[in-house]
């Protein structure tokens, strides 16, 4: 069960309309390393996890990622609010605009729609946690690249917050992998997959 809380995790207050920034920040909504994939990856992986610490962590980080999804959508909404057709053209946003007007649609910066092919649920404890560590690093790099491209301080404050969350999550997934392997056969952690072999 999920309960909606009518607030953001971190405030988003973007004064200036700037569709040119929305054009690439949309990738953290529905792109290959975006927040939609992050939330679905963790919330889907948790069902196969055999240890309580991992079930808790994947639930809690997956839930936080849903909050980040909402923050990224808020950035897009505010960057495109009251935009004119002239601003759409000047920003080169016509291809997005023709399909979605000023709606928020989960897609890559390149225009490919969000796809579950960008996430993995392998049903193996070590494999899934290692995937999650890689996923956090990919999202961090994407936020680094957004910081290189964006010159709006109102946007960058939020991006820096989201980027730092990736660093913290990487640490927690690494700790979770350590905890998990401590519970496995110490001579050979690969002797079975504890998510399947009992």
């Amino acid at each position: 069960m999920f309960v909606y809380e009518k607030r953001l995790q971190y405030p988003v207050r973007i004064k200036n309309t700037n569709p040119a920034l929305a054009k690439f920040i949309i990738s953290q909504y529905g792109g290959p390393d975006g927040e939609l994939g992050a939330s679905l990856r963790y919330l889907s992986q948790r069902y196969a996890m055999p240890y309580p610490e991992l079930r808790g962590l994947l639930t809690d980080i997956g839930t936080e990622e849903l909050g980040h999804l909402e923050m990224v959508a808020t950035i897009i909404q505010q960057l495109t609010r009251n935009m004119t057709v002239e601003e759409v053209k000047a920003a080169g946003l016509e291809t997005y605009f023709v399909d979605h007007t000023a709606g928020v649609y989960p897609q890559f910066a390149s225009g490919t729609p969000w796809t579950a092919a960008t996430i993995a649920v392998k049903g193996d404890v070590i494999t899934d946690l290692t995937e999650d560590m890689g996923a956090e690093q990919k999202a961090r790099t994407t936020y680094d690249n957004i910081l290189r491209l964006s010159d709006d301080p109102d946007v960058n404050n939020v991006i820096r917050f989201l980027r730092e969350r990736e660093v913290v999550h990487f640490q927690r997934f690494g700790e979770a992998l350590q905890l998990a392997t401590e519970k496995m056969d110490q001579k050979n952690v690969y002797v079975i997959n504890p998510a399947f072999d009992r």
Binding site: V3, Y4, E5, K6, R7, L8, Q9, Y10, P11, V12, R13, I14, K15, P52, E53, G56, L57, D60, I61, E64, E70, A73, T74, Q77, Q78, R81, I126, T130, M133, Y143, D144, L147, N156, N157, R160, F161, L162, R163, E164, R165, V167, V168, H169, F170, Q171, R172, F173, G174, E175, A176, L177, Q178, L179, T181, Q186, V189, Y190
Partner: protein, 148 residues
């Protein structure tokens, strides 16, 4: 854990097994939930823990984001969430758990104050509402100037 000079590792370092089996990935375990930023700095920097605060090009947010009634709720909720993630991988750290409980108390008080003045955060907050105000603006994504 000892450093080469014989001292204890500082909070930027964690613990690794002294003999680590091959063919595995290792991230050192954070040793303790201390030191910590205060709630306002934690929200601003995106982490409660100075040891995990590793900003891109060393640029950090300077603007105070918690100086509003909602900002206060955000900051306290953020601290308890950070402690919750820490406890997920350190469930036996009783000190961190006690701290989380004290933050949850402060959070509940801050939320009560906010809800009484500005309306429900969650549907069950409408116990305090005189009419169905769930649908009232502002929704979280709407642009508001600071202090609005």
């Amino acid at each position: 854990m000892e450093t080469k000079s014989g001292g204890r590792c500082d909070h930027r370092n964690g613990v690794l097994p002294s003999c680590a089996p091959l063919a595995r990935a290792y991230v050192p375990m954070q040793q303790s939930s201390a030191p910590q930023y205060d709630a306002s700095d934690a929200l601003k920097r995106g982490t409660l823990f100075p040891g995990l605060d590793l900003p891109f090009m060393n640029m950090v947010n300077m603007e105070d984001v918690s100086g509003t009634p909602l900002g206060e709720v955000m900051a306290l909720c953020f601290v308890s969430h950070e402690l919750q993630l820490y406890l997920d991988t350190h469930p036996k750290d009783t000190e961190a758990f006690e701290l989380m409980k004290s933050v949850l108390n402060l959070t509940a008080e801050a939320k009560r104050r906010y809800v009484a003045k500005y309306g429900p955060l969650r549907p069950d907050d409408m116990l305090c509402s005189e009419s169905f105000d769930w649908i009232d603006d502002p929704w979280p994504w709407m642009y508001r100037q600071r202090g609005e």
